[in-house]
């Protein structure tokens, strides 16, 4: 009767208070430049880091992606993390480390992310790591300080919602489209208060990278975490990763992981079903991830609910979404900056030229190296796009990679919030292939005709 979530939760529950709040042991704690508030809290109380061996640091939010002078405030954020990590004996992948990258890309890549673990980070997209069958969720600075000091967290066990995606995805349709699709259907508060488990034949058929994209976007539907039961795809991805168990420990781990699945008779507090075959490539038109529509659709009518967003986005109601001119594209982020994402974008761009400028920032230094070896970087630069170093970059604009006010960006990121990519920036979320297609067309466009004969 037990869900996957509850199985993992139970083995981490140190105690449960009478008011229902549990103290949970944390297996992995990931910190980045934004963790400075938490380190300051620790310093104010003169507390040590409890388990530096389970804590890992990486520079990503402020990481420079292009050569040139680094402004003082950004340099300060980078060195602040390195100093805090050095002071507390935390292993840190800094700007020049070959293991550097976006925290949610490098966790899995380095084998730090494993099935059955609890993983926390001061970043809401920590839900990404749930793709491996871990309980992974973002926390605020007070909670980061708490984990640093105690390696535990006080949490109330959330109810679990199952989202089953059955059937086959059509060509040109990706995990990003499934995610935007369910968020559009249920709303950004649709899974609020819940942990989500993704199930169904379409999810089982997905690569780890696609599962990560799916879990990554859980937070945009209001869920703090998303999970997929581990299987052979998971094990194949993890085997041989630098920090993953090896030898006898690997065998022991795999035996354990095979039992990590929801029981057939497990009860979920909500059960949602989606037919994969009905999903088309989506784009967002508004300022919330729930404002997503098929690319074949039209800009919604002006209502009390849509007026603000339409005005901010500068869109005319009733016009087809396809054909809306874009000023630039961005391909990257923890949502869609992994090697498969870059391959999907390159498959569209190969032999074609981008009509508008664009930035491609791989999710990690290792992804960057691989993409260069595979010739993907060459495809991007031949098409006229800028190939940059890895970091959060234009997903959040903290490192100075921003979209100018009033400019429209086709973006593979996760948030089309007002000002997310820069003050006044207009963001349309979509998959990497769709962003590549937008670059070629200079406008929002359906990628499917461009894929004919290519996949």
């Amino acid at each position: 009767m037990t869900t996957l979530f509850d199985k993992v939760w139970d083995r981490h529950e140190i105690l449960r208070r009478d008011d229902g709040v549990s103290l949970i042991f944390v297996d992995r704690h990931l910190v980045h430049e934004g963790s400075h508030h938490a380190f300051r809290k620790l310093a104010e109380r003169n507390l040590p880091v409890k388990r530096a061996d389970l804590t890992f640091g990486v520079t990503d939010h402020y990481a420079p992606t292009r050569p040139g002078p680094v402004p003082d405030n950004i340099r300060g954020m980078l060195s602040g993390l390195l100093e805090n990590c050095a002071k507390h004996g935390i292993r840190c992948f800094g700007p020049d480390d070959p293991r550097q990258g976006i925290v949610h890309v490098i966790g899995p890549e380095q084998g730090l992310t494993l099935p059955g673990l609890t993983i926390n980070c001061g970043d809401s997209h920590t839900s990404t790591h749930g793709a491996f069958g871990a309980i992974a969720f973002g926390i605020g600075a007070s909670e980061v300080a708490h984990v640093l000091a105690t390696q535990t967290l006080w949490q109330k066990r959330p109810p679990v919602m199952r989202l089953t995606v059955d059937g086959d995805l059509a060509p040109g349709v990706t995990a990003k489209d499934i995610a935007l699709g369910w968020i559009a259907r249920l709303g950004t508060g649709g899974a609020q208060g819940h942990a989500v488990e993704y199930a169904g034949s379409a999810v089982r058929a997905m690569s780890m990278e696609a599962r990560m994209t799916l879990c990554n976007l859980s937070i945009e539907g209001g869920a703090r975490s998303g999970m997929v039961a581990p299987d052979e795809t998971t094990f194949a991805y993890l085997q041989g990763r630098p920090f993953a168990p090896a030898g006898a420990a690997w065998e022991q781990a795999c035996d354990d992981w095979r039992a990590l699945a929801s029981d057939d008779d497990a009860r979920f507090s909500r059960d949602i079903r989606i037919d994969a075959a009905e999903i088309a490539p989506l784009v967002t038109w508004g300022t919330s991830p729930e404002d997503a529509l098929p690319i074949t659709g039209t800009v919604p009518e002006r209502t009390d609910r849509t007026a603000e967003a339409l005005a901010y986005m500068g869109l005319t109601p009733g016009r087809p979404l396809a054909g809306t001119p874009v000023d630039q594209v961005f391909i990257g982020s923890c949502t869609n900056g992994r090697i498969e994402d870059l391959r999907a974008a390159a498959a569209v761009l190969s032999g074609r030229t981008a009509k508008v400028p664009g930035l491609v920032s791989p999710g990690s230094a290792a992804v960057k190296k691989r993409a260069e070896e595979e010739g993907l970087a060459q495809i991007f630069t031949d098409a006229g796009l800028t190939w940059a170093a890895s970091g959060c970059s234009m997903c959040v604009g903290m490192n100075g990679d921003t979209v100018e006010a009033g400019k429209r960006c086709a973006s593979t990121t996760n948030r089309n919030f007002r000002g997310r990519q820069g003050q006044g920036a207009r963001t349309h979320l979509m998959s990497p292939a769709m962003a590549a297609a937008a670059a070629v067309a200079g406008a929002l466009t359906d990628v499917r005709p461009m894929l004919e004969g290519r996949t």
Binding site: F25, T188, G189, Q192, V396
Partner: protein
């Protein structure tokens, strides 16, 4: 953090749904130390920001504080002078962050919210504001009232944590990362 039971002050309306943390504090201000005060960054780029001057209570739309885990969004609200936000629903991480900083995220029925205006009293004892009920997890309520600090609370249970950890790592040794550097 000091605890509180009652707060009285002007309640002002910010009637938008899905007010996300990027709006509450734009990312470009987040490298600033908290000691400089975050109140000036609160809703910095929003055209209606100045209509909220003097607010102690914010009346907001659904899914308030959705988006990122940045606690700076709560710092901005708190440093601006806001002690309670009334909304039909909140982003989960935002609500947790709020409580950790003495800010009340009061979940209320839209009809109750619609009836409120002027100077109001928030009462954590009765879980009401302006005489209307709000929903708040009892554990969160206790924390706000007592001004509890989780770290102190947890460090008092250190022995129990140590025992658990030994046993846990005994059964699941592979959960400790291998020394990735040395391979």
């Amino acid at each position: 953090m000091t605890g509180w039971t009652r707060v009285e002050g002007p309640a002002l309306r910010f009637p938008y749904d899905n007010v996300d943390t990027d709006q509450l504090i734009p990312a470009r201000f987040m490298s600033t130390p908290r000691s400089e005060g975050y109140g000036k960054y609160f809703l910095h780029d929003h055209p209606d920001r100045d209509t909220l001057n003097g607010a102690t209570i914010l009346i907001a739309g659904r899914n308030f504080g959705c988006g990122s885990s940045r606690e700076a969004a709560v710092y901005a609200l708190a440093d601006f002078g806001i002690r309670a936000v009334l909304a039909p629903s909140f982003g989960d991480i935002f609500a947790a962050n709020a409580v950790n900083n003495g800010l009340l995220p009061a979940a209320m029925d839209p009809e109750d919210i619609a009836s409120l205006e002027g100077t109001l009293t928030v009462d954590l004892e009765t879980c009401t504001v302006g005489g209307r009920p709000f929903r708040l997890d009892p554990a969160a309520r206790d924390k706000l009232v007592n001004g509890w600090d989780d770290i102190d609370l947890t460090l008092s249970r250190l022995q129990q944590i140590e025992t658990f950890t030994r046993q846990y790592h005994g059964t699941i040794p592979w959960s400790i990362p291998t020394q990735g550097d040395t391979r």
